[in-house]
């Protein structure tokens, strides 16, 4: 069965269906049903995935499908997943139905601060199209196909921000688009150069691993890919589009933007930068580590100073993307696996934060932290789940982000102790920005304007419940996910030809 093509076809057909049905209500229901079907298919596919095949070059990408697309240039429709891609596809498949349910009223202009009513059907159709593209971008094993998805994803997101966002939506959407297009163009040049210089007559990723040998060429091509990914992720100092985009996007779109789309950047670094340009990756490692560590501390400090909830959450993500990039470029199995798991965990915890913030804003009509206070008293469930999501954001052990952050830091420490120590200071700063936001919004005397604020309704409970469950489950039982991720990360790192740090040898004796 062509699993991956099916996973992409179902939401695309669903999008067509959504735009054809008569009523808005039915459109939402169809969208939800389609996204749930995608989730079910993804789970079925995951059950058939065999992590142990990840070690061999031939079986590395499972559920592979390769068809010629533009034979003249060796462009293929090539898809397949290893453990890294699989968990990210699973993340997307879990988040989309949750986002659809959370966005139920986001487009119909009923919120306290919502823009006027827009086409509900278009919004949900865009969501489904975006889902197909998110699956495609992680599944692509053809570099050109990856590039096409990488760019095409911008379109639905651009419309979701530009047409359905907050007051400054146009500015935010254009900024998002311009930054992304700039990065994308650089990558396009590098993709074409890779094809030409590689001289293999194909864009298939497995064929291209190791073809660029010349160090100088590697460096230039690395930069082309890396800058595109650094803008996408985003790493400091390419980050300023994110707070605007995330704050102006409707909460659901912000979740997919920060939770999934941005991960394409860090995923790209791990998959393409490291494997295609190993020497250049090693050469630029000090630079990337500096950017990552600066981003961790800088993002956290700027987050502390924010006065708007969604902007604050966006800055915390910049700090977290620093952790992920650090884990990727530490080039140890612990850090790489931690970074991959971090991409998943961050999607859940930041997703929950954005969505609950969105519920608050829908009710109160303001994202300003100062407009809230004492919400816990009137809406304890909302406050409690917000706190759990926040605690996961500050990497509290027992919640999912802890495992990934711990692995990134310990894996980085194995090779680069000083950056790891500086990055670890992020745990203190994270406590400041999360708990201070919680204190200002949820505790203290109940503000007059939120006295009548209703607690989570049934639909919203179904939104938050699965996220909280995932956060706790992955916090206590990360090994099923890590068992899928580890062999894939091992394989990726083996292509970088780097000696494991001293600890790995002792591990055998230590166990």
């Amino acid at each position: 069965m062509p699993w991956l093509s099916t996973l992409m076809a179902v939401p695309v057909l669903g999008a067509v269906g959504v735009s054809l049905v008569k009523s808005d209500r039915l459109a939402k229901q169809v969208a939800l049903a389609v996204s749930l079907a995608v989730l079910a298919l993804t789970l079925l596919m995951t059950l058939q995935f065999d992590p142990s095949l990840g070690a061999s070059k031939e079986t590395r990408f499972q559920f592979a499908e390769v068809y010629e697309w533009i034979p003249r240039f060796g462009v293929h429709y090539g898809v397949g997943v290893d453990g890294i891609a699989l968990v990210l596809i699973a993340l997307s498949a879990v988040l989309v139905p949750i986002v659809i349910l959370a966005s139920w009223h986001d487009a119909d202009g009923s919120g306290a601060e919502a823009p006027p009513k827009r086409s509900v059907k278009t919004y949900f159709a865009l969501l489904l199209v975006l889902e197909a593209m998110m699956i495609g971008v992680f599944a692509a094993t053809d570099v050109f196909l990856f590039y096409v998805f990488f760019e095409a994803m911008l379109i639905p997101m651009y419309f979701m921000i530009g047409s359905y966002g907050g007051v400054q939506r146009s500015y935010a959407a254009v900024k998002f688009l311009l930054y992304s297009l700039f990065g994308g163009l650089l990558m396009l040049v590098a993709v074409i150069a890779l094809y030409v210089i590689g001289d293999k007559g194909t864009f298939m990723f497995p064929e291209l691993v190791g073809v660029i040998q010349d160090p100088t060429t590697q460096k230039w091509l690395f930069l082309g890919f890396f800058i595109a990914f650094a803008v996408k992720a985003p790493l400091w100092p390419f980050h300023t589009w994110l707070p605007d985009a995330a704050a102006q996007a409707p909460a659901g779109a912000a979740v997919l933007l920060v939770g999934v789309l941005d991960k394409v950047g860090t995923y790209g670094m791990l998959r393409f930068c490291l494997e295609l340009f190993p020497e250049a990756s090693k050469f630029f490692t000090p630079l990337v580590i500096v950017l990552a560590v600066v981003g961790i501390v800088y993002g956290a400090i700027v987050a502390i100073g924010q006065t708007d909830m969604k902007r604050l959450i966006a800055y915390t993500s910049i700090s977290h993307f620093g952790f992920i990039a650090l884990g990727v470029f530490a080039m140890t199995t612990d850090a790489g696996a931690g970074a991959t798991l971090y991409m998943v965990n961050h999607g859940f915890s930041t997703g929950a934060l954005f969505l609950i913030a969105g519920f608050l804003i829908y009710r109160r009509g303001s994202g300003r932290i100062a407009d809230y206070g004492g919400v816990q008293k009137v809406a304890p469930l909302m406050a409690g789940t917000f706190l759990i999501a926040g605690l996961s954001g500050l990497s509290l052990p027992g919640l999912s982000s802890f495992v990934s952050e711990f692995m990134v830091l310990i894996g980085t420490y194995e090779r680069h102790p000083v950056p790891a120590i500086i990055a670890t200071s992020g745990v203190v700063l994270a406590a400041v920005y999360i708990l201070w936001m919680y204190q200002r919004t949820m505790t203290g005397p109940t503000a007059e304007s939120v006295k009548a604020l209703p607690d989570l309704n049934l639909r919203e409970k179904w939104v938050v419940g699965p996220l909280v469950a995932a956060i706790i489950a992955l916090g206590f039982f990360p090994s099923p996910a890590l068992d899928v991720i580890n062999p894939a990360v091992d394989h990726a790192l083996s292509n970088v030809h780097i000696n494991p740090p001293a600890v790995a040898e002792k591990k055998g004796a230590g166990q």
Partner: protein, 640 residues
């Protein structure tokens, strides 16, 4: 010196299911939190049931352990894979961990029961009990985990419970602020603990206790696998973690504010159990500390400085809970001092920790009983003459008081004296400073007794004190019995030292107990002098309702030795400025540069604004244009 025994994997019997001690209270917390209002009626009973069951499991495990030969008394039970290849979940039942488990579940259960009465009128009592259960589970994970990662999960878990409980009345801004402060200061300590774990992992390739015994550390040092420098670093970083959790200098400032929490919380978390976790960490990591004398020296110095600082703070507080909190800092300083002495001191540290758990919980709950009677008044200047109206509370409180000042034959006499003698043997400076601390303890604790229970009645007009219900007084009585006898039981015949030996080792020569040694006598004289001085100032003389200005020393102590002022000047204000500058830079610097660049390229900024204000379609077109460029380029390349 005798080293600890090997850890044996797997065990049957109740020890084999001892993980239930953690799981049951955790389940209780989950049921109460998820069940919501439906569980309001019986929630507290479920929570108590979970806590008491955990206590029973601890007791049975303890006796099973006693039934084993000495060198088989360390049992590890593997539970499940956590981080593959790095850390698995498992519990370690050995004399050290079971001692803590008994203290946590025993005192914990009593405080659960007491809270039925204390929190009876609180609309959120169920939530309170769910947090208490969460705390018990996390604290047990902390002491029972068989590796540092598991320990760290419990470590931050108790931090969470502490945060939730300090901020339990979070509609009060002071409570919310205190909760946040406690968490953040603790995170500074956790930063140290995390890096210690990283260093251990990198140096030893394991985080499991059975791979990190003193023997293993010595071996690694000999073969050059780890350097002396990294062992010292590990010791100091572990100490930083311990300082955060145990409110030792320089991370002490959160504990006094933590008194914003309900009093049972202060008794359980901020006196009897959680704050002693730092001592547990140092003792559990004995293998590292014994190989790093510099780190050990720093531990003893931190201990001595804190025991004096806490005592001085205790002298100046009029708030009964804050006075007790200063005293807690000080007593943990004693434990830390002992823990820094190596195997000679471990048993005394743990013995004092256990007896302190009893007499301090006893006094905190007693203070709660007084507050319950006095409309939540905490100012001792509004107390006085309470002895006749609440005799059970008063008598049990006074027993706890006698125990803490080291009145002969009561608990504190044996355990504190053991620490002082061991310290004296190590270094006379440390020893005499510890004696001085005991003298100050005699003063501030007597002051508390005189101001609260004796002298004139300085009550507010609407105060009608009465004895608390038996659900509150019975736990007081149980704890005061422990305060009387536990010390003699643990110390005489070196009972605890011999029991702990398989877990932490012991000195070759067992210390003998001298009823009236030189330092012991000096301590008694100083304590008596302190008590007499307190009687002159607060017993015989009238206590003014408003605190007199006092000397600069008093002001120094009242302001917690300027700990908060220092933090504010060194960290908070610079931090605020840094934040402001960073936000400004982010908005104007990076973003301004990019926007400016875009404007320059576009010719005028006006054009940019036009670009930004709409025409959605044109941007879609620009993407299409980009795609066309791609195809064009490909065609071109393909034709080459």
């Amino acid at each position: 010196m005798e080293s600890p025994a090997e850890i044996i994997q797997h065990s049957g019997g109740v020890i084999g299911v001892s993980w239930l001690m953690i799981a049951l209270p955790l389940l209780g917390a989950a049921i109460l939190l998820l069940g919501g209002r439906r569980t309001d009626r019986w929630g507290h009973r479920l929570a108590i049931g979970m806590s008491v069951t955990a206590f029973l499991i601890a007791v049975i495990s303890f006796f099973e352990l006693l039934g084993l030969p000495e060198d088989e008394r360390r049992r590890a039970i593997a539970l499940y894979r956590f981080i593959p290849g790095m850390a698995d979940m498992g519990v370690l039942i050995d004399p050290l961990s079971i001692s803590f488990a008994l203290l946590i579940t025993g005192v914990g259960s009593l405080i659960h029961i007491y809270s039925i009465g204390y929190m009876a009128h609180d609309p959120d009592r169920r939530r309170f009990f769910s947090y208490l259960n969460l705390f018990v589970a996390a604290m047990l994970l902390l002491v029972l985990a068989d590796n540092y990662v598991g320990l760290f999960i419990g470590w931050e878990g108790v931090g969470l419970a502490s945060y939730l409980l300090i901020g339990f009345w979070q509609f009060k801004p002071s409570a919310a602020t205190a909760a946040k402060k406690a968490f953040i200061v603790n995170r500074v300590g956790d930063f140290g603990l995390l890096i210690a774990i990283f260093t251990v992992w990198t140096g030893f390739g394991s985080v499991a206790f059975d791979k990190l015994s003193g023997t293993a550390v010595g071996e690694a040092l000999k073969t050059g696998q780890v350097s002396q420098g990294s062992l010292t670093a590990i010791g100091l970083l572990l100490l930083l973690g311990a300082c955060g959790k145990s409110a030792q200098l320089p991370l002490q400032s959160w504990l006094l504010d933590a008194m914003e929490g309900p009093t049972p919380v202060s008794a359980l978390i901020h006196a009897a159990t959680m704050v002693t976790a730092g001592v547990y960490l140092v003792v559990r990591s004995g293998g590292f500390f014994e190989a790093a004398p510099t780190a050990q020296l720093v531990v003893t110095i931190v201990g001595v400085v804190t025991l004096l600082a806490g005592a001085i703070i205790g002298c100046a507080k009029d708030d009964i809970k804050k006075g007790l909190a200063g005293s807690t800092m000080s007593q943990i300083g004693y434990m830390m001092l002992a823990a820094g002495l190596g195997p000679v001191g471990y048993a005394f540290a743990i013995a004092h920790l256990i007896t302190h758990g009893f007499f301090k919980a006893n006094m905190f709950l007693g203070a709660g009983s007084v507050m319950h009677a006095m409309n939540d008044e905490v100012d001792m200047r509004r107390y006085g003459g309470l002895y006749p109206v609440m005799k059970v509370t008063a008598i049990t409180f006074i027993i706890g008081y006698l125990a803490i000042i080291g009145f002969p034959l009561l608990s504190g006499y044996f355990t504190k004296d053991g620490i002082i003698e061991a310290a004296m043997e190590h270094s006379s400076v440390l020893g005499w400073l510890a004696v001085l601390g005991a003298g100050i303890t005699g003063f501030y604790m007597s002051r508390m007794i005189f101001m609260t229970f004796f002298g004139g009645r300085r009550w507010a007009d609407d105060a009608h004190p009465h004895e608390s219900p038996s659900v509150m007084t019975v736990p007081l009585i149980v704890l005061s019995v422990g305060s009387v006898f536990l010390g003699a039981f643990l110390i005489l015949g070196n009972r605890l030292m011999l029991f702990l030996a398989p877990a932490v080792g012991r000195p070759e020569e067992l210390p003998a107990f001298h009823a009236f040694s030189g330092p012991g006598l000096a301590t008694l004289v100083l304590v008596a002098a302190g008590a007499a001085f307190a009687w002159v100032r607060y017993g015989a003389a009238e206590v003014p309702l408003v605190a007199p200005r006092g000397s600069f020393l008093t002001a120094f102590a009242r302001r917690d030795l300027y700990g908060d002022a220092l933090n504010e000047a060194l960290f908070m204000r610079p931090g605020q400025w840094l934040t402001r500058i960073a936000v400004f830079f982010d908005n104007r610097g990076i973003d301004g540069l990019v926007n400016g660049l875009a404007a320059a390229i576009g010719g005028t900024s006006g054009r940019l604004r036009r670009v930004q204000t709409g025409y959605v379609r044109s941007y879609a077109l620009s993407i299409l244009f980009g795609a066309a460029v791609v195809v064009g380029a490909l065609l071109y390349v393909g034709n080459m």
